[in-house]
């Protein structure tokens, strides 16, 4: 019960139901190892990603946010991720302006078969957040 226990990194992952969520499943099936710091929330599509939810995640103490969806052109709803692709750079730029470091906010394309890639993406995100925490 020591109070010196280091606070764990908390990354919120918003994964699209059709690709990335299945991709995360595939990561487990393939026995790929990735950091357990990510807490996954399933969303129907990256096009549903309301920027308010990301802002709220940061506000409620998330160290990092990852939004992951289907590759462009593979969207289950044909065009959801195209809208997300436009929203992302604007949101990232605005967050940076408000003082949320760019290392804390990431997006990726992970398809249902890319278990290995998902593990790598999470490793990269957690490493980036760690870098931000340690080096400011």
């Amino acid at each position: 019960m020591s109070n010196e226990k280091k606070k764990d990194i908390n990354v919120v992952g918003f994964l699209c139901n059709w690709c990335s969520y299945a991709g995360a499943d595939m990561t487990g099936l393939g026995r790929n190892i990735y950091p357990s710091n990510i807490k996954i929330i399933r969303i129907p599509c990256t096009g549903r990603m309301d920027p308010m939810m990301i802002i709220e995640a940061f506000h409620n103490g998330a160290d990092g946010v990852l939004v992951s969806g289907c590759h462009p052109g593979d969207c289950h709803y044909s065009e959801g991720n195209f809208y997300w692709r436009r929203r992302y750079p604007h949101l990232k730029s605005l967050m940076e302006h408000f003082g949320i470091d760019k290392r804390r906010f990431h997006a990726s394309w992970v398809s249902a078969s890319e278990g290995k890639k998902f593990a790598e993406v999470v490793k990269k995100v957690v490493a980036d957040v760690k870098d931000w925490q340690e080096n400011g």
Binding site: E56, E79, R87, L94, F98, I100, A107
Partner: protein, 279 residues
């Protein structure tokens, strides 16, 4: 110019080309003006236009549920009216835009020219139905120097800067109420299901409010600086709206209020959009 303005509005009202006219009138002292809503042609003598006419009258177009309106606009306010038309809030033919040439407006608190007026490209209004007066546009382009300077700071410094600013905020919602494009009848800030924002006022929650508001007006904000001038505690909201305008220009080559038929950047897409940052 006041005489011409009064004559024109009198004509519009008597010919029934407009039910209501929105303009400026003198308020309690010589440095103050307030919006005037004219129904009776005999009342037009109240109307004036001078360098203290700071309000953006585009705000009232969505608030008045009238069929035909005439509105007095400075060059910069016309962008607001066009943006509202683009959002299909009313039809172009139902609003008569009276553009007035403007040499810049003064903030009566400091008696200085507003920062937005320094490099103004629309001193002579563009796209109005009637234009009164003559003014020469600035030759220099709009400058984003202060935003670029701010962007160079580290994220820690930015965070500290905004925390200090939003500690002052009393969440009076003046910025939202005065914003012409913030016309949602059910604002997220007042909603309790789901409650995005508690009613408790502290620096953290104030920042959340401003972040979400800025995100909501992206691609719609015409950078009219109404929020900045309305703020009772002088939070530099223009630093945020300017950033939005800069982002829209740089990321999507879009300028809000320029074209009534354009699609706003976030409600359309292009298959060739860049994805440099996405893993």
């Amino acid at each position: 110019m006041d005489k011409e303005l009064q004559e024109l509005i009198k004509k519009l009202l008597t010919e029934k080309k407009a039910e209501w006219a929105i303009g400026y009138e003198k308020a309690y002292d010589e440095f103050s003006t307030r919006p005037a809503f004219i129904i009776d042609p005999a009342d037009t003598a109240r109307l004036i236009f001078n360098k203290y006419c700071i309000n953006n009258l585009g705000l009232y177009l969505t608030k008045l549920k009238k069929n035909k309106l005439a509105v007095v606009c400075k060059g910069c306010d016309i962008a607001t009216v066009f943006e509202l038309i683009r959002e299909k809030q009313f039809k172009r033919e139902n609003v008569a835009i009276i553009g007035v040439a403007c040499e810049g407006v003064l903030d009566k608190r400091t008696n200085k020219l507003l920062e937005k007026c320094e490099n103004c490209q629309v001193k002579q209004p563009k796209g109005a139905d009637f234009t009164l007066g003559n003014a020469k546009n600035s030759e220099k382009p709009k400058s984003y120097a202060d935003v670029v300077e701010f962007e160079k700071k580290s994220s820690k410094e930015k965070l500290e800067f905004w925390n200090r600013q939003f500690e002052k905020c009393i969440r009076c919602y003046a910025c939202r109420n005065v914003c012409p494009v913030c016309y949602c009848p059910d604002c997220f800030a007042l909603r309790s299901m789901p409650e995005y924002l508690s009613k408790h006022v502290d620096a953290d929650k104030n920042k959340l409010f401003h972040m979400i508001r800025m995100q909501h007006v992206f691609g719609r904000c015409t950078d009219c600086k109404a929020c900045d001038t309305a703020c009772p505690v002088n939070i530099p909201l223009s630093m945020l709206t300017k950033k939005l305008a800069k982002d829209a220009k740089e990321l999507f080559n879009y300028e809000s209020g320029a074209d009534t038929d354009a699609r706003p950047p976030l409600s359309t897409y292009d298959e060739g959009d860049s994805e440099s940052d996405i893993m």
